[in-house]
């Protein structure tokens, strides 16, 4: 892939096809850890880190193991195992080598293996037949898009705490309606053509 293609791919994944707001991947953490901006940021960084490494790892597994033995139909099982193992490895590695980073990301890392955005990006990479660099760029950009949406949403929710919401809408319902409004704003990007 050329640099301009990669740029288009990355911009598309961040804005036009935002993982959370347009493709509906990773809604659980999006609603779960968006009450404060700093936790949102912590989650966002771990997602960027894990999705980048998971894209590379699943690409290699798909190319060198699944294709070689002609068992590509097993990709769901293989990918989820790779992702779960990877998350565990990342956690152990960070604990030893970067304890401060581990402390900051610690509680979010185990949640990562059941984040559908991570498995989703791995499957999308193989469906679109991206090469190694393309996969990593797509994974990282999708994660940046996730972080952007999460951060925007968290800052709105912080304000929402102090507003007067009808009793029936308190808590989750108003958060979902807020998400809908942000998602509407992101629909404006769908006219964007970068090629």
């Amino acid at each position: 892939m050329t640099v301009s293609q990669l740029f288009a791919l990355s911009l598309g994944a961040i804005l036009v096809e935002n993982f959370v707001l347009v493709r509906f991947l990773g809604i659980c953490p999006f609603l779960g850890v968006s009450k404060k901006t700093d936790t949102a940021l912590g989650m966002g960084f771990s997602v960027i880190f894990v999705m980048g490494t998971a894209s590379a790892a699943t690409y290699l597994v798909n190319e060198h193991i699944l294709k070689r033995f002609d068992i590509e139909y097993m990709h769901t099982v293989a990918f989820i195992l790779v992702i779960a193992a990877l998350v565990q490895l990342v956690e152990m590695f960070l604990k030893k080598s970067a304890p401060s980073l581990h402390k900051a990301l610690g509680i979010y890392l185990p949640l990562m293996s059941t984040n559908c955005a991570v498995l989703g990006v791995a499957i999308l990479n193989t469906q679109n037949e991206f090469d190694l660099i393309g996969s990593v760029v797509y994974g990282v950009s999708a994660a940046i898009g996730f972080t952007l949406a999460l951060l925007l949403f968290a800052s709105v929710r912080e304000k929402l705490e102090f507003s007067d919401v009808p009793a029936a809408f308190q808590g989750f319902p108003i958060a979902l309606v807020t998400a809908a409004l942000i998602s509407m704003a992101f629909m404006g990007f769908s006219g964007l053509k970068v090629m």
Partner: protein, 198 residues
């Protein structure tokens, strides 16, 4: 058994009360056909994963239980995926990515961890079935609202006179969030009223 069924469908509804498995709920509830298909696939996976996990609950070592559950669930999802591709290619195409993503549907793993590994095979089977049906019911409610308002159709048939302009927004991304928000708000409103009277 009746209690368990009621729990899965209403009091502990995975989507509307426990707020689990929302990605597929919002993403594929654009038409009743999709909602029903997704609901039944998830029910199938939940039913058999609950049975398998509770049958193996004394064999699976404590430390690697989550990984073992995920392998069992992923295998069942692969079965569903291949069956759909072979026998219902249209449904398989329209659900697309969200079939393999049943693996990471938190509702399935949550039932394995909180119910199937502590209870007998029969109880777990009933639990899987009722949770699955609760999930299906929530999806059906959401997809009916979105299909009627967003496309002006019910089960693919026009139900409004020809002058009706469908609100296309409802079938797009924001519509999913709004519909789910309003359904949960309605549930909260009803339980608030019940609580107020008592």
């Amino acid at each position: 058994m009746g209690n368990q069924l009621k729990n899965g469908l209403i009091y502990q509804n995975p989507v509307l009360v426990l707020l689990l498995g929302m990605c597929p709920a919002i993403a594929i509830s654009t038409s009743i056909f999709n909602g029903l298909g997704m609901g039944l696939c998830t029910t199938f996976v939940l039913f058999f994963s609950n049975i398998t996990i509770s049958a193996l609950r004394k064999v699976i070592p404590e430390n690697v239980r989550i990984a073992s559950y995920i392998v069992i669930i992923a295998t069942l999802v692969t079965v569903v995926d291949l069956l759909l591709q072979a026998y219902m290619p249209a449904l398989s195409r329209s659900l697309g990515l969200f079939i393999p993503l049943i693996v990471v549907n938190c509702a399935v793993l949550a039932r394995a961890e909180s119910f199937a590994n502590k209870n007998t095979v029969l109880a777990s089977a009933i639990d899987g079935l009722s949770m699955g049906l609760g999930f299906t019911a929530a999806l059906l409610a959401m997809s009916a609202i979105r299909e009627i308002l967003g496309a002006g159709m019910l089960m693919g048939r026009n139900i409004f006179p020809s002058g009706f302009q469908p609100v296309q927004l409802m079938t797009l991304a924001p519509g999913g969030f709004i519909t789910l928000g309003c359904i949960i708000a309605l549930k909260q409103w009803m339980s608030n009223r019940k609580g107020g009277k008592a």
